[in-house]
Symmetry: C2
Subunit: 273 residues, 2 copies
DNA sequence: CGTGACGTTGAAGAAGGTCAACCAATGTGG
DNA sequence: CCACATTGGTTGACCTTCTTCAACGTCACG
């Protein structure tokens, strides 16, 4: 899409971690192997020993788990540019499966090569950790989405998230973006059933908020859609990017600002719905 | 509980990462500051700049988010020995809040000191990342729990998880362990309401699977409870611990085993409930 | 001994699931 | 080019699960 697989990787890491010229060049030397996946092809299974890191070049992939009653829960999806399994660097045994939601193309970097460049540029490890951290952050948000919002809000929130992650910069108006998910897949993401997704989509359509067609989402009113989905921009801001170039492998320390002065107890916070 | 705060930290990291004598000694020099928290005291708020890593020494803490309708979703809980916020090493701005579910004691290590020792022993970074990874893994499991299981299974699964994390090694028989959660807190964890938690607990009690009292969980039949909760042991095995001492900062490469030969497409997997 | 916090219960209703049928679009082999 | 199969979407009827609201009980603690 944007260039060679290595370029895509560099661009991605740079979004959250400032990389020096040398670090970028080291990454450029990785030359990930490209793999084509057909729709619904699982490329990592539960229990697999994952000795590589994958990056999505085109298409759409997902991490999922199966409940013992056969229900599938998708726990993350990756758009082009996203890393699939940065966590494998420290946790090679995968506890979830990964599949291509549509025909996709991924770049694969063998862990051995990664470790080699990381040995020379330890800050790259931070870069990968940061990607894994963003994924974790996302899982947490999905937890809130599924745990505390009703069906309509869940779908709205998801679409908002995907719009931003697709690079849209909505301004309260209408726009459309690529979103080739089936209703069954939406169900697997949101913890609902396909039938109910269908009904929710009808409501959103009738309310002139959102129209989903086969491959694209037509957002009719970003403002209201975000309200319905309780979507707060910035929850996935790439801005975790530290502006300074400090890493976890510094040469020197720094003054030490502290936070949370430690407020005393306050009215017990217990909520539920 | 087990010794000095630093010892607790060392023990914890050692569970997933083999540490050399020198690394352990470096950690021992950290001397975390100890903080006492009363029940319901928030010690990290959304948006806080977190310049330290905390470890629970006693009590019980939780990460949570608030939906805009006021509903609270707990997205992780930490038992004594657990790290609260390992992710802060690469992502200092917290997007969730942290609170003490009961009166607790935590050890706090300033990031500056952490970076200092990490500069000398880069593999320690891996150790912290591994903790963060375990937390992420857990969030994913909770996603499956909330997204794909009914109330009874959710509660059963949670209790099973907490039993193992508390150090129990159940053998199909009855046992009890410390679990000082209120029903409202259980609701905030499982995405249910307090009232419904109460009813579910009654059913579990009547079925002679589980009795929850104020501060302790009495598991009456581990086997069946695990079945009801679809709990598969090993999902939280600490065994992510790499037996070898390879890190992401190796001095030399290694032969390169590959996985996932790339099976062709198979019958489309679409499930929902 | 009064006041929270926590647990318990009932009644009613809403949200979402299940089952089943049907439709439209697409693709495939003859 | 057509008959047929497959996938994904749509809808209705019915039922289950969970929530909501409201009341009341109980225990601990100042």
């Amino acid at each position: 899409m944007l260039g060679s697989p290595a370029d895509v990787l560099i661009a991605r890491l740079s979004a959250r971690t400032a990389l020096s010229r040398e670090e970028q060049e080291a990454l450029a030397g990785l030359a990930p192997e490209v793999r084509d996946l057909v729709a619904n092809q699982d490329f990592i299974n539960v229990g697999d020993m994952v000795e590589h890191v994958d990056i999505v070049l085109a298409g759409l992939t997902a991490r999922f788990d199966l409940a013992s009653d056969g229900g599938r829960q998708i726990t993350a999806i990756q758009l082009p540019g996203d890393l699939v399994n940065a966590r494998a660097v420290v946790q090679p045994i995968s506890r979830s499966a990964h599949t291509a939601l549509v025909a996709s193309k991924i770049g694969t970097v063998p862990m051995t090569m990664l470790r080699r460049v990381a040995a020379q540029y330890p800050r790259l490890i931070d870069a990968f950790w940061r990607e894994a951290a963003a994924d974790a952050e996302n899982a947490i948000q999905w937890l809130v989405n599924i745990g505390r919002r009703d069906a309509k809000a869940r779908v709205a929130h998801l679409v908002c998230e995907l719009a931003l992650r697709s690079g849209e910069q909505p301004l309260g108006t209408a726009f459309a973006f690529n979103m080739p998910l089936t209703q069954a897949q939406l169900a697997d993401i949101t913890g609902l059933t396909g039938v109910h997704i269908n009904r929710v989509l009808r409501v959103l359509r009738e309310e002139k908020l959102l129209i989903l067609t086969a491959k694209t989402a037509h957002v009719l009113d970003w403002q209201r859609l975000a309200e319905v989905g309780q979507f707060h921009r910035g929850y996935l801001d790439l801005a975790a990017r530290s502006d300074d170039r400090r890493s976890s492998h510094p040469s020197a320390g720094r003054p030490r600002p502290r936070s949370s002065p430690g407020q005393p107890a306050h009215p017990p916070r217990v909520a539920s719905r």
